[in-house]
C-alpha cells in the first residue's frame, strides 16, 4: 500500500485518534472546572489544537496573570513545533504554498512522526493522506472536547482509569519506530538525560525544548560523514 489517499490517512490516524480521546475529554472537563464555557473550551481546541499547551493555558487563566504571560506559556509548550516545521522542508518540498499553509496547522506530534515515517517508507507524503490523518485526529479531538466539557466530572479520576500512561506509551512506540536510524541510541539517550535534568532544575514545560535541543546538538556534533554513510545504507536497503 502506498498510502496516497484520504481514506488511507484516516486508517493510519485512527489508533492515535482513539488514544487522544481521553485527553480531549480531560481538557474539556478541566476547562469547565476552571470557569470556561463549553463554547470557549471548544473554540480553544479548534483554533489552538495542542492539548498539553491548552491544559497549561487554562491552569493559568484563573490566576489573574496578564494575558501576554498566558499566551507566552502556551507558546513555550508548543515551541517544539518549530523543529517539526523546520524538518518538514525536506519531507514535503513538492507541496504548494496553500497546501503547506493549511497542512502545517495540523502539525501535531503524531502527525509529524507519521509524516517522517511515510517519507522514509514511500519517498513522499501525499497531501490527501496527510489530511486524512489530520481529519480523523482533529475530528475526534473536537468531539472528545465537547463530550468532556458537557459530561465533565462523569469522567472520574483519569489516573485510576490508567489514562495518564496512554500518551507516554504512544510516544514511546513512535520513538521505537525510529530505532534503525543513524545515531538513534546516542540521540535518544542525550534527549532523555537532557529532559530529565531540565525537568528537575528548570521545570515543565521547558524540559521538552531543552531535552530536544540536547539530542539535536549531539546529532550536529557527531561526525556528519558517518551519519551520511548510514543514511545511504538505509536508502539502498
Amino acid at each position: 500500500m502506498t498510502h496516497a489517499t484520504f481514506n488511507s490517512g484516516i486508517r493510519l490516524g485512527l489508533p492515535v485518534a482513539l488514544a487522544v480521546l481521553p485527553f480531549g475529554a480531560l481538557f474539556g472537563a478541566v476547562a469547565i472546572e476552571n470557569g470556561l464555557t463549553i463554547y470557549e473550551a471548544t473554540l480553544m481546541s479548534g483554533v489552538i489544537y495542542a492539548g498539553a499547551s491548552q491544559l497549561v493555558g487554562i491552569e493559568l487563566f484563573n490566576q489573574n496573570l496578564p494575558a501576554w504571560l498566558v499566551v507566552l506559556s502556551i507558546f513555550a509548550v508548543n515551541f517544539r513545533h518549530i523543529l517539526y516545521s523546520a524538518a518538514m522542508v525536506r519531507i514535503v518540498p513538492e507541496w504548494s504554498f496553500a497546501k503547506k499553509a493549511v497542512g502545517f496547522f495540523f502539525l501535531v506530534d503524531p502527525q509529524f512522526a507519521e509524516s517522517v515515517r511515510l517519507k522514509e517508507k514511500n519517498g513522499r507524503v501525499s497531501f490527501a493522506c496527510y489530511m486524512g490523518y489530520a481529519f480523523i485526529v482533529y475530528a475526534l479531538w473536537m468531539i472528545s472536547t465537547v463530550l468532556g466539557a458537557s459530561l465533565g466530572n462523569l469522567l472520574g479520576d483519569p489516573k485510576a482509569a490508567g489514562l495518564d500512561v496512554l500518551l507516554p506509551i504512544y510516544f514511546m512506540g513512535m520513538v521505537l519506530g525510529f530505532r534503525k536510524r543513524a545515531s538513534f541510541y546516542p540521540i535518544m539517550l542525550a534527549s532523555a538525560v537532557g529532559a530529565i535534568v531540565a525537568y528537575h532544575f528548570v521545570g515543565s514545560p521547558w524540559h521538552v525544548s531543552i531535552g530536544a535541543v540536547t539530542g539535536i546538538l549531539l546529532a550536529v556534533i557527531l561526525p556528519p560523514n558517518k551519519t551520511g554513510e548510514e543514511m545511504t545504507e538505509v536508502e539502498t536497503a
Binding site: F75, Y84, D109, A113
Partner: protein, 104 residues
Amino acid sequence: MGQFFDMQTLIIIFASAVATYFTRVGGYVLMTRMKSIPPRVEAGLNAVPVAVLTTLVAPAFFEGGYEVKIALIFALIVGLRFPGLIMLASGWALVVAMRYFNIA
C-alpha cells in the same frame, strides 16, 4: 455574547492560536531562507523526531510511580515485537490492573 464568551478569554485564545500556528510554520519559513542546508544542520533535523518524542516519554517514566515504570517497560518489550495498538493496550491494561490491586 457575554454568557458564551468572555472578551479577555477570547483574546487569549486567539493570540495563543496565532502563536501556535507560528510555531508550526516558523521553522519552515526559517529553513527556506537558507540557500542550501549544511550537512550538520541536516543531521540535526534528522534527529528532531527521536529527540523531541523522547522528551515526552522520559519524564513520565522517571516521575511516575513504580506501576508506571513497570507498565512502560512492559509496553516497550511488547512494542519490539507487536504493533502500536497492542503495545498501547497491554501497557494500559497492566497499569490499570496494578492500580486496582494496589500492586507496586
